[in-house]
């Protein structure tokens, strides 16, 4: 089966000089949840931006490689075209429309949808997923808490009835039980509505629990990939990403070693 998304050896350069991605390839099969893991600055966000064509606003560009959606080259489509094709990105750092209320934010998310019934149903669905948003629906987004904004951003993306969602750090800033809920929602959408997810996450634990397949990035390259269950049992991953290397989980208080970061590639 051809993957829904096929990223083939892309290079990304910011500002004409800063080379950030150095040949990244990954595949996302239809109906899968794929996790993209890696430390700060590894290039996860950049990869997602490249897929959703949001690089331009950051003065970045894809200089090599190709990106295919269901076999179609998409590097030259606008982000709006991509949303039309069902690809929606939830941007890192929330990016709610500050002056719009939460509800207006959500409704704008349905810009590409024309059926009134569908929009209303989607809205109800989002409110059901995030009851907190319903309470705050009349507030301007700028005046809601960080976590509320994060929910709003995720909810907004769902309003577009997407078939492929690029989630950039969805768990960031969310309270533990909400994190869990978000992942449950992901799973729910995935199993019930066959929505495919590409998930950039720092919360490796959660990500590997819910994802079927994972890629690990380091300084702009994919350094390891495999089914999530395999990754979760890999010793290195366990030690550096899950914190359970060499037996049981270490207390944050005990970790004192300096510069232990493992590099798969120089």
């Amino acid at each position: 089966m051809t993957p829904i998304l096929n990223v083939n050896g892309i290079e990304v350069i910011y500002n004409h000089v800063i080379l950030v991605l150095k040949g990244v390839s990954l595949q996302v099969p239809e109906g899968a949840i794929v996790a993209l893991l890696g430390g700060n600055g590894a290039g996860k966000t950049t990869t997602l931006r490249a897929v959703s064509n949001l690089l331009k606003g950051e003065r970045g560009e894809v200089t090599k490689g190709s990106i295919e959606l269901r076999g179609e080259r998409i590097e030259n489509l606008t982000p709006a075209d991509l949303v039309q094709r069902g690809v929606v990105q939830v941007m890192e750092g929330r990016h709610c429309f500050a002056h719009l209320t939460i509800e207006e934010n959500l409704l704008t998310g349905a810009y590409t949808r024309s059926s009134k019934g569908e929009i209303a149903a989607n809205l109800e669905k989002v409110y059901a997923y995030f009851p907190r948003l319903k309470q705050r629906r009349e507030s301007q987004a700028a005046y809601t808490s960080g976590g509320e904004q994060q929910m709003c951003a995720i909810g907004r993306a769902l309003m577009a009835s997407p078939s492929l969602v690029l989630l950039d750090e969805p768990s960031m800033g969310l309270a533990p039980q909400i994190v869990e809920e978000v992942f449950e929602i992901v799973k729910d959408l995935n199993t019930r509505e066959k929505v495919t997810f590409l998930l950039a996450e720092q919360n490796t634990n959660m990500a590997l629990k819910y994802a079927g397949y994972g890629y690990i990035m380091e300084s702009g390259r994919i350094v390891m990939d495999g089914p999530a269950s395999e990754l979760a049992t890999n010793e290195d991953v366990k030690e550096f990403y899950l914190g359970v290397g060499g037996g049981q989980r270490k207390s944050f208080r005990e970790v004192k070693s300096y510069k232990r970061r493992k590099r798969w590639l120089a």
């Binding site: 350069i13 500002n15 004409h16 000089v17 800063i18 080379l19 003065r59």
Partner: protein, 358 residues
């Protein structure tokens, strides 16, 4: 591989804090200064001095001032023309009313007048922000236009409102040759640029930038928005005021308020944005661009047009100039929204990586 800091290790923070940490840059700067002081006067034609070089120097000075306010402190100002006017008329009044007033103190005092005016019109910035402030600064512009037209005292009761100065001297040397005027303006510019550079890389400069980038956070780390904004207005309008005085005294000789119209304010804003907000070098690029381009076009457009077999009148040239000018501005912004200075920096960075592309 020539342009590299390879092997140039900084052994102290002082060395690292230099204005030009890279050796090649230091030599380049020295060469540039020598060139500006010695070679340019020898090479320039009599037309170049008054028409290109002197306006360039003065405008670069003004752009420097505007950049402190707009580029470093983030307070967009459309009233720079007014600060120039206050500087010019302030200096003029000191110059003609105080017996035997020497030129340099008169210009500095003009700057002080502009500074006071700048602080006054900077006060709203404590409450009004962004584009609202930008538009509100036009109040300063139109007020100054009016003030110097209407209040006779400022123009020494000249019936037409136009004033002039002559017999300029510095330490007994008459400023009558073009080269002398050039050196005079150049020295003003070099000294001010150095001081301004020091300011922006010191604590106060960081305060300005902090206010520009995120004022609430700046307040939380103990920066007083009022102090930061008003000092930016003060320093900026002082420099712009001096530039205004030079523009009036050295370049125009005789002037009326229209010489510092809102058009001038826009041009100054252009310079800093085209040159690069928050960059001292940017002001120079911007000033060069804005001063030289129209003159260049006026001089060479007809020739260029006749090459392709067209003849255009002065009106056509003027319109073509407007169009080219507008198009170039847009083009530069599209290529590099952060201005010529950033383009320059990117160029240098590429040079450092050379011969590798990244």
């Amino acid at each position: 591989m020539l342009y590299r800091e390879n092997g140039q290790f900084k052994t102290s923070y002082r060395a690292d804090q230099q204005i030009f940490p890279i050796l090649q840059d230091r030599w380049g700067m020295l060469a540039l200064l020598l060139f500006a002081y010695l070679a340019v006067p020898a090479l320039a034609s009599p037309y170049m001095f008054p028409a290109v070089l002197i306006p360039f120097l003065i405008m670069a000075l003004a752009a420097l001032g505007v950049n402190i306010l707009v580029g470093y402190c983030g307070q967009i100002s459309l009233g720079s023309g007014a600060f120039m006017a206050v500087g010019a008329y302030g200096a003029y009044n000191f110059f003609v009313r105080v017996p035997d007033m020497p030129l340099i103190p008169a210009i500095l005092l003009g700057g002080v007048c502009a500074m006071a005016f700048g602080i006054l019109f900077g006060l709203p910035s404590l409450r009004v922000k962004g584009l609202y402030l930008a538009v509100a600064t036009l109040a300063a512009q139109f007020f100054a236009d009016w003030m110097f037209l209407r209040i006779k005292w400022f123009t020494n009761d000249s019936p037409s409102g136009s004033v002039s100065v002559n017999n300029l001297q510095v330490f007994g040397f008459p400023l009558d040759s073009d080269a002398a005027k050039y050196w005079f303006c150049l020295s003003f510019l070099v000294v001010t640029a150095l001081l301004a550079k020091n300011l922006v890389r010191s604590a106060i400069g960081r305060e300005w930038m902090a206010i520009r980038d995120m004022d609430v956070a700046a307040a939380v780390i103990g920066i007083r928005p009022m102090y930061a904004k008003l000092t930016a207005f003060a320093v900026s309008s002082f420099i712009v005021g001096m530039a205004g005085a030079l523009w009036a005294f050295i370049y125009l000789g005789a002037w009326e308020p229209a010489a510092f119209s809102v058009e001038q304010s826009f041009r100054l804003l252009f310079m800093v944005i085209i040159g690069g907000l928050g960059s001292i070098t940017g002001g120079f690029f911007g000033a060069a661009f804005i001063v030289v381009l129209p003159i260049f076009l006026a001089n060479y457009l007809p020739a260029a047009a006749s090459l392709v077999g067209m003849s255009i009148g002065t009106a056509g040239i003027e319109h073509a100039q407007l169009m080219i000018f507008g198009a170039l501005i847009v083009w530069f912004l599209v290529v590099e929204p952060h201005g010529l200075a950033r383009l320059w920096a990117t160029g240098k960075q590429k040079l450092r990586l050379w011969p590798f592309p990244h």
